[in-house]
Symmetry: C2
Subunit: 366 residues, 2 copies
């Protein structure tokens, strides 16, 4: 193979698999009449976001205001910051961004809504706002009466336009069993739809009803009343998604190319990819679902047992040795966490490097 | 306080504490007649490395060849890549670097030594090499007869100059009890010194006898026969070092400034620093020694219980609430892992930002 010219550790993107992943979710969204607003925190690149747009994406979702600014600079003009934006510095930046591109965000408290309103009024601009609902993760969001009160407050505040409601049905990551996951995902999305209906009954404008999580995407895409879906991880998938049963292994589009640099002891190999590259993720949202820190392609007998900063520790279950100098490809547990470490992704077709993409929104944490 | 102009999440370096840390280790090395060759994978900046040099550092240690190249570009001319360098691409880059600056590295197998030799001969240059010893971590390195044979092989190979032996006494991170840690550290360093003596008795040139690990630095600095020490983490220290008893909390020079963005549920707070910023480290070398994912300064009642990608989940033990918008400073569990995520560090004096430093060797993983 001709990855010989790619030094290690590097992050590889299989372009054929990526394209298949992008097309599947775009087509499913289209078939069911939902707008796709992919969460680009997974890849942080311009190239993949452009392809998502070509395939019909109605704007992008980001996790950080800094990511939104990076995408605005890269020519994307409809950005949803699905994260509570708090503090005078952020609100001033948000107002500046809202004058350049179409930007929307979420609120989950009346205090935050009032601060947003004041900042937009001061800047002479207006912001689209979704009320973030908590349908079970208990991370951010409001529900029931509190959601009703907050939606009403947003609708009445100057400088803001209530656009709808949204959730991240992230609880599905905690469900190992596909049937249970489907059931949890659908129940949470139904709660979203019911809340939207109740708010509309109360006379509020709720045009956007938005959910998003890769493992539940196919489970909930047919639910009436949802207008928008925001999956992120689906562009690459990863060992976590395989463990959850979302996809088979052959759909994973991201891998880390690493070299065995030492064998140290019998039954052991050391690779040049450690925690700074692979991250210590063993499941989404802090869940430790997976054994090991990535899946070694083609070597089911090899467990990536632990990570130091710069070293990966392999444990060999069988007799088949690993040679120093041998290269391995590792499907990460959590693709989003791995991409966030790299400045560049190497795009491969048939194991041949064809492009380098900048992870241009990397490090835009604020 | 006037950190109001610093957006969150950001990495803050307390310059007074940093300076105290730098001076203490520099003075101890000097008092005991050891050369200090600090491991700069911890900070990856030019500014701190320059200060280490001013305080007497005899060159720098790096974990990656890409880091060495970055430091060479920044004007540092004596670089020790304390990592087994394997593969044709790396050896060609290493040879090119060896023509620009003084560079040295480690080997832990005869195969690797022969490959290094061939690359240096082909490039018409010569490389200083240390034999990496395994004194208990069983990660990389050789010991006993294997070390003797490898040292002899290096001494006889063209293009290489055997300079000595080195260890990372990283096992000390697994010792919660300070007395046990001291004992393990001293025992491992004595094994290093004994191996060096045996090789010298065999007629081999062993001028450099090098060890390095922040928790054991003070425990082993007086041991005769050690010529060089390579601590890294000491510039910042972190919650892990505090838990190990290396230093008190007031010595930690790195913190992450974060904002409470949501309260979601009773007894809960959500901050805008998650795993992409704080890392999931709970101890060095994959050890899970610490409860939580960082220490919240001034709020011992608040546990940083879990991390999603972009969210930190706080659990409040008492009645004292957290307000949305409130800012917290978090001492990370593992400073090296956190710095590796950031492009910039904000330097503060008396809680006043005074400089921004580029983490210029960040992302140089290859």
């Amino acid at each position: 193979m001709s990855l010989d010219g790619v030094d290690t550790p590097s992050a590889l993107v299989d372009q054929v698999r990526l394209e298949r992943n992008l097309q599947e979710f775009a087509q499913l969204a289209d078939q069911h009449g939902k707008r796709l607003r992919p969460h680009v925190k997974t890849h942080k690149t311009s190239e993949i976001a452009r392809r998502q747009r070509e395939l019909g994406a109605a704007g992008l979702t980001v996790a950080k205001l800094g990511e939104a600014e990076a995408y605005a600079d890269a020519g994307f003009d409809d950005l949803f910051v699905c994260y509570p934006l708090v503090g005078a510095l952020k609100l001033a930046r948000l107002a500046a961004l809202a004058r350049r591109v179409t930007v929307s965000t979420v609120v989950d408290s009346a205090d935050a809504a009032r601060a947003l309103s004041a900042a937009m009024l001061a800047a002479g601009t207006r912001l689209d706002v979704l009320v973030k609902l908590d349908v079970g993760m208990h991370r951010v969001g409001v529900i029931d009466d509190e959601a009703d009160r907050l939606a009403l407050a947003v609708a009445e505040l100057g400088g803001l336009r209530l656009r709808g409601v949204c959730i991240h049905e992230g609880s599905v990551y905690g469900q190992g069993d596909p049937a249970a996951r489907r059931s949890v995902g659908r129940e949470q999305v139904r709660q979203l739809v019911q809340t939207a209906a109740r708010l509309r009954d109360g006379g509020l404008p709720v045009d956007v009803v938005s959910c998003g999580a890769t493992p539940s995407f196919r489970d909930v895409i047919d639910i009436d009343g949802v207008t928008e879906v925001r999956p992120g991880n689906y562009v690459f998938f990863d060992a976590m998604q395989v463990a959850l049963g979302t996809v088979g292994r052959q759909r994973c589009a991201l891998s880390v190319l690493a070299t065995v640099v030492s064998r140290a002891a019998a039954g052991r190999g050391i690779i040049d990819a450690g925690a700074k590259v692979l991250s210590l993720d063993r499941g989404a949202h802090g869940l430790a679902l997976l054994e090991g820190y990535g899946q070694v392609l083609g070597r089911p007998d090899v467990l990536l047992q632990s990570l130091s900063e710069e070293h990966g520790w392999l444990a060999l279950a069988g007799e088949l040795p690993l040679a120093v100098g041998e290269r391995l490809r590792i499907v990460p547990n959590h693709a989003c966490a791995v991409v966030s470490n790299f400045d560049r992704l190497t795009v491969v077709r048939d194991d041949e490097p064809v492009a380098e993409w900048s992870v241009m929104a990397r490090g835009r944490f604020t």
